[in-house]
Amino acid sequence: MNTITILWKRQLLRYFRSTPRIIGSLGQPLLFLVVFGFGFGPIFQKAGGGDYVQFLVPGVIAMSILFSAIFTGIEIIWDKQFGFLKETLVAPVSRLEIMIGRTLGGATVSVIQGLIVMALSLIIGFKINLSLLPLALLFMILIGILFTALGTAIASLLDDMQGFQLIMNFLIMPIFFLSGALFPIDNIPEVLKIITRLDPMTYGVDGLRNALTGVGVFSIFTNLVVMIILTIILMFIGSYLFSKIEI
């Protein structure tokens, strides 16, 4: 076993041992599914948007991956002082390996989280396009890696949890709400339209929706290319900032 696999395994062990965390982090997506799905469903239908649950589920799956991934990254702030991070930083391994192991672990955990939400959504009537399921999984993995890397990058810059609320409200929430997870982004005011196109999450949500339900604003190919490029860029930024951490 090498550094990357053992750090990956560590994240999985931690995840599966923490039942409250698993259940806790399912609360929000479930609430979104039920409240928005059934609350806005009739209006959405009347407005000619079709079945809202079909529209919403990919967005909520992406959301649970986004939050779970960001949190794994942000955990580093805590870890810097009271945790395991120091132990890894004085070990004779490169920072890049540590970063990759952590990120893949965080991404795996968040994809599992997304899969659980997907399974639950089948119960409330979500219909899935099975033929493109592997592609959907690929988008989920990309969302997971991209945002774990983003969380890592942010956490590398912050020294304490004070800035956390700021990041949540001014970065993560906008990333989610402006991604088209909750509403269609083709017939909206021009300014908003531009903003949504600048949001990396938009392409993750759209790609996932396209793969799962066959409906999307961009082509699967466009989504995939954009997501892959962004993930690579974020991995570079994340590793760079991670390598600069001084404790």
């Binding site: 931690r14 805590w78 395991f84």
Partner: protein, 262 residues
């Protein structure tokens, strides 16, 4: 074993460590003392490759800590001031992870882990999650972990802070035993002067980033004409209480209990 030459570390205008030089011999138990904010932790961070010095040289086990950091990292084990175990993993898993990170021979790893857990009297708890351990047990586990890869030097940054006298005594007897049996060099910091006086063969005192004295505890007492290391320490570093600026880390340390979900 450890050699520091004209070591300086500046943070902006502030000089945390100011041109210090000293060396620690193989197998020695060395106490590095100083009031809060004197530069102890900064020095340890440089010795353990977590920080780069502004100028000066550091050699650990003959390797240059700036240019050959991996060789240096393999040479030492460390117990940090704040815990660095993974609380959600078992004692054994924490050890195993360390073994993989330090590339300990896979076939020998299991035996070595069990042997060390036995040494710190945690063998019967090897499959328990670390979260359930007391402060003293965690420290012992950290010591065992720090020894896993056969280091030549063991750094201990305030290892006994927050432990009761029983556990402290117990811990020092482990450490003395270790230095005798395995000839490991021990480099530690502490605020308990009687601890340093009892255990350390050599002492260095740092204040305001400068080395103010070094020698055996006896030499320091003689030099300052005092009866205990504590008095010698106070004479050398003054009685004034240090107003160390509280950092975000202190806040986090305070909030830790509240946050300790791990």
């Amino acid at each position: 074993m450890i050699e520091i030459k004209e070591l300086t570390k500046k943070f902006g205008d502030f000089t945390a460590v100011d041109n210090i030089s000293f060396h620690v011999n193989k197998g020695e138990i060395f106490a590095f003392l100083g009031p809060n904010g004197a530069g102890k932790t900064t020095t340890i961070k440089m010795l353990t490759t977590l920080l780069k010095p502004t100028s000066g040289q550091i050699f650990v086990n003959g390797h240059d800590a700036v240019h050959n950091e991996h060789a240096v990292r393999k040479s030492f084990g460390i117990v940090f001031q704040d815990p660095s175990l993974d609380d959600e993993l078992t004692a054994y898993e924490n050890m195993e992870l360390h073994g993989v990170l330090y590339n300990v021979d896979r076939h020998a790893l299991k035996g070595r882990i069990l042997e060390l857990l036995e040494f710190v009297e945690l063998l019967d708890r090897k499959d328990k999650i670390v979260k359930s351990f007391s402060g003293g047990m965690k420290r012992r586990l950290e010591i065992a972990r720090g020894l896993l890869h056969h280091p030549k030097v063991l750094f201990l940054d305030e290892p006994t802070v927050g432990l009761d006298p029983q556990t402290r005594n117990h811990m020092w007897s482990y450490i003395e035993n270790l230095s005798k049996k395995e000839k490991i060099t021990i480099f530690f910091t502490t605020h308990y002067m009687e601890e340093a006086e009892k255990v350390a063969q050599k002492v260095a005192i740092i204040d305001h980033g400068k080395l103010v004295a070094q020698g055996t505890p006896e030499e320091l007492k003689k030099q300052t004409k005092t009866n205990s290391l504590e008095e010698a320490f106070l004479k050398l570093s003054g009685h004034g209480i240090r107003d160390e600026q509280s950092t975000s880390v202190d806040h986090m340390r305070q909030n830790r209990k509240m946050w300790s979900r791990r």
